[in-house]
Every structure is written in structure tokens, then in C-alpha cells.
């Protein structure tokens, strides 16, 4: 079924009887060509692009719970490609370009809204670093703009310019950055994949890999063995847990990141803004809630919930930046599991097991990567070679010394 304004009109006039399920609830087949473990944004996008762009068939996505229930369903919805390093920037720019045509591509309004993202500058050293980054973005074909404090003030007059502990000295803007309605991304990919024949198997937990003679033959699941020509794992925060079943230890720690939404407000924040002197970033959703986040709690956790100190720290950052927030109320706090890698950058690679592929280590930046992650993982699964924008995302980069460390914090995942 094709969605359109016309269709909405027609259904409204005929009692909405014509809407069909967005995806089927198929029974597992005994064997697929490609099995994707993980029905989150990345897994669903992978399946979608495998079917649509790489003309693969007999694909299944296996999800332990309900699709879109991981980080794609609980993030702060930001998209951007304002990275510094050569290993990252082309990939994220590819992703941003995919976002720009996504809704028309998968026929689902995910509300991709390029309202711009602004990283604030508070010190001269920060300006130097952001200049380097902005130039790297431009060299990679992305857009970047350096704003003076006055320019920032014109766009965000209500920020704290006059009584700030760390005065705003400018900002690095990416106008093409913005936000996306996060759940809709999972649903759009799921619907698009399903309509191209992909089996989405919800409530199906992978309990093990069947590996014989160094080759992965399929996955053991709570709904029985499912054979596969290739298995791609895209399970984000559960990466270590799942890959341990294949005998692997990963350069990844799982940490909790909390995110926040306020009660709904009439429009105040035009774009996405990040505070450069504290842990706070914020945007306003179309529904009116201020969506904001900060730093990870900092300790290994699979609990999907965090603690008060980070909530306070984020609120302090918010108030320091935007003193008019005082009477805005925090509505909901939630926590997700972040697959924090050792250099803050992801891995999209084959493993030492033939036929077993891995996609993970997204830290807390996985949402914006969803389209490119899916595309590049599909590329790897379908062609056996890395996509040109994802060549740096190899397992062996740590052993060989080719880290992609944007923040320069080293092998300390909670600092990335």
C-alpha cells in the first residue's frame, strides 16, 4: 500500500477500513540467505537496503522484543554530519544525504527536519578546533558555517550572553543538520523491507550461533534454529552479549545514556543547539517537547536507566545556557544502552567466523548513522567488501593503531 495525502483523504471518507498492517507477522522460515540479528534502526535499514538496493532475497530480521524498541526508539533524534576525522566524515555525510531523500524513498513521513545544528564555542581553543572540523567537513563535501557571538545572538537571543560563567564566543553551524521523528525511522524501514519480502520476526531471541568448521550456519533462537547463508549482527547495546555467543570479545563497553523530554511548549527553539562548556544539547520536537541530553552516566550498565547526578548535571547545563528554562518542566527521563567503543567510532566488519558479520560500537551517535549504517552493512553483506565510506570501520584498527578518535580520549569508552 502506498501512503499519500490522497490515500489519507480516501480512508477518512470510508471509515479507515482500508488500512493494512504496516508489516506482516510471518512465521520463521527454516533458512534464509541473510539473517539480520536486531530489529532496531540499523538492522531494519540493513534489511531494507539489502532488498532494495542490493537485490538480495530471502532476508529475515530477528528481534528479541518489538521492532524499534532499542535506541532508535529512545534517542534525541538528531541528525548531522559535523565530524572531524577522515574515517568518519564521509560516512556521516553519506548518511545525511540518505536522510535527505529518505521519506520519498521509503514512502513514510519520518519528519526529517533540517532545522540546523549549532555547536557553541566558548574558548579560543574551541574555536580553533571547530575551525579545523568545519574545514574538514567542507573538504568532505558537507556544509559548515562559523558564526560569531553576534550571529549566534541573532538566532538565539534568549541564550545566556550576559551572565554566563562560560560566555558564548561563537558557534559552528551545520544548516543541513536537524532532527527526525525517530520511531518513524524504524517503522518506515520495517514497512519498506516487509513490502520487499523481508520477514520481520519479532519476539524471537537469538540464543546462539551454529558455527561449524569456522563457518556460521545460522542462529539458534527462542523460536528454533534458523539457517542462514550469512548472519549480520546489529544489536547496539547488546553487542558484547550477542557476540560472546560466537566466542568473541569486543572493543566495546555498554553504558547508560539518559535522555530527557520536557512538557510540550509552543515553539521556542528553532534548531538543535549544543552547549560547549557543559553537557547539554537540546532541540524542540514538532509536538512541542524540548528534547535534550547530556553525558553518559559513566559506568558499565545494561539497566536502561540512570541516576540523579547526570539528570542534575544536564539541568545545570540547560539553565546555564538558557536561563529561561527554569519553569519548563522535565516530563520524562529514560535510559538506553550505548555500545561505547574504544575510540568512539563504530565497527562495520566481517568477523573471524566465515559468514558472520558485525555492525556496532555506535556509542551514542548511532541514530544519525542509521541510513548509512544500513546501506554500508548491506553493501558488506551483499558484496563482501566494505562500502567506500566505511573502510575505516574495521575490527583490526585497534591492534594496528588506526583508531578513529574524534574526541582524543583514548581507550576509555566512558569519555567518548
Amino acid at each position: 500500500m502506498r501512503y499519500s495525502g490522497f490515500r489519507v483523504l480516501k480512508e477518512a471518507l470510508t471509515g479507515h477500513r482500508g488500512w493494512t498492517p504496516a508489516w506482516r507477522e510471518p512465521a520463521p522460515q527454516p533458512h534464509y540467505d541473510i539473517v539480520i540479528v536486531g530489529g532496531g534502526g540499523h538492522g531494519l535499514a540493513t534489511a531494507y537496503y539489502l532488498a532494495k538496493e542490493f537485490r538480495q532475497h530471502r532476508i529475515a530480521v530477528i528481534e528479541k522484543g518489538w521492532i524499534g524498541g532499542g535506541n532508535v526508539g529512545r534517542n534525541t533524534t538528531i541528525i548531522r554530519s559535523n565530524y572531524l576525522l577522515d574515517g568518519n566524515e564521509p560516512f556521516y555525510e553519506f548518511s545525511l544525504k540518505l536522510w535527505e531523500g529518505l521519506e520519498q524513498d521509503f514512502n513514510y513521513n519520518a519528519m526529517v527536519s533540517q532545522r540546523g545544528i549549532l555547536n557553541l564555542i566558548h574558548t579560543d581553543a574551541q574555536r580553533d578546533a571547530f575551525t579545523r572540523r568545519g574545514n574538514a567537513m567542507i573538504l568532505n563535501g558537507a556544509d559548515a558555517e562559523l558564526l560569531s557571538a553576534e550571529q549566534v545572538r541573532r538566532e538565539y537571543p534568549f541564550l545566556n550572553f550576559d551572565d554566563a560563567r562560560f560566555p558564548i564566543k561563537g558557534g559552528l553551524a551545520q544548516r543541513r543538520g536537524g532532527t527526525v521523528r525517530h520511531d518513524a525511522v524504524a517503522w518506515g524501514y520495517a514497512r519498506g523491507a516487509d513490502s520487499r519480502g523481508v520477514d520481520i520476526l519479532q519476539n524471537c531471541e537469538v540464543t546462539g550461533f551454529r558455527i561449524e568448521h569456522g563457518k556460521c550456519l545460522g542462529v539458534e533462537t527462542s523460536r528454533g534454529f534458523i539457517g542462514a547463508g550469512k548472519v549480520g549482527v546489529a544489536v547496539a547495546g547488546s553487542s558484547s552479549r550477542v557476540m560472546a555467543k560466537a566466542g568473541m570479545r569486543l572493543p566495546i563497553e555498554s553504558h547508560v545514556l539518559q535522555a530527557f523530554v520536557s512538557e510540550g511548549l509552543k515553539p521556542v527553539l528553532p534548531g538543535v543547539i549544543t552547549f560547549g562548556a557543559g553537557h547539554f544539547y537540546c532541540s524542540q520536537s514538532d509536538k512541542g517537547g524540548l528534547v535534550f541530553g547530556g553525558d553518559i552516566d559513566g559506568y558499565n550498565s545494561y539497566a536502561q536507566r540512570g541516576n540523579l547526578p547526570v539528570i542534575e548535571d544536564v539541568a545545570e547545563g540547560g539553565m546555564a545556557l538558557f536561563p529561561g528554562l527554569g519553569r519548563v518542566r522535565l516530563l520524562r527521563v529514560w535510559g538506553g544502552i550505548m555500545d561505547m567503543s574504544m575510540d568512539g567510532s563504530p565497527i562495520i566488519d566481517r568477523t573471524h567466523v566465515d559468514g558472520l558479520y558485525f555492525n556496532g560500537g555506535w556509542c551514542y551517535g548511532g541514530f544519525k548513522a542509521t541510513p548509512a549504517s544500513g546501506w554500508c552493512f548491506a553493501h558488506l553483506l551483499a558484496t563482501g567488501t566494505p562500502h567506500p565510506t566505511a573502510t575505516a570501520y574495521r575490527f583490526d584498527r585497534f591492534e594496528r593503531g588506526y583508531m578513529i578518535d574524534e574526541k582524543g580520549m583514548g581507550a576509555q569508552p566512558n569519555l567518548h
Binding site: 547488546s238 558484547s240 552479549r241 560472546a244 570479545r249 569486543l250 572493543p251 566495546i252 563497553e253 555498554s254 559513566g298 559506568y299 558499565n300 550498565s301 545494561y302 539497566a303 541516576n307 547526578p309 574504544m342 585497534f398 591492534e399 581507550a411 576509555q412 569508552p413 566512558n414
Partner: protein, 95 residues
């Protein structure tokens, strides 16, 4: 969170800085022949269990002891807390 410091008793986790897996105590010998792979494993690979995890916390705003905390990463329950120096010695580390 509350960390039950072996000397000081219950302390707010806010006084601490987190480092990670307590295996970081077990640093390979840098002078050993071909220690590269051992250091790669040491610095980069983690068990990252969902469950009990032995991990290093530094009482930065307290008595500056490094502690080994055994904590469940799913429930956050803390099972035991030891002085890291004692743990290091029990692992055979010395000078």
C-alpha cells in the same frame, strides 16, 4: 549509587570517578618479547558482561583510594567492594 567503601563505609558514587574493567590492573610486562598483542588485549578488549562486573572506581573526592567494585550491570546491585591495592597484590602485582 552508594559504594560501600571498605574503610569509610557508604559513600555517594558522585565522589568517585569510574575507570572500567578491573582487568586493567593486570597490565602486561612491557619489556616482554612481543608484548604487543597482550597490550592490545589489555587496552582494548572487554568482557562487558550483563551481570556481575568487577570494575575500578577512584574515590577522587574522598580518600583517593582506587577500589574494585563488583557490581551487577543489569540491576546495579553492588556485591562487594575492595581496595584495589589489595586486589592488585593478591593478583601478584608488586613493583
Amino acid at each position: 549509587m552508594i559504594i560501600n567503601h571498605p574503610l569509610l563505609g557508604p559513600c555517594d558514587a558522585q565522589e568517585f570517578t569510574y575507570k572500567g574493567d578491573a582487568r586493567l590492573i593486570d597490565r602486561p610486562d612491557g619489556m616482554a618479547e612481543g608484548s604487543g598483542p597482550a597490550f592490545y588485549d589489555y587496552a582494548y578488549l572487554r568482557d562487558n558482561p550483563a551481570g556481575e562486573h568487577r570494575e575500578l572506581w577512584f574515590h577522587e573526592q574522598g580518600d583517593r583510594s582506587w577500589l574494585v567494585v563488583t557490581r551487577n550491570t543489569v540491576t546495579h546491585d553492588i556485591i562487594s567492594v575492595e581496595l584495589a591495592r589489595d586486589v592488585a597484590r593478591s593478583m601478584g602485582r608488586s613493583r
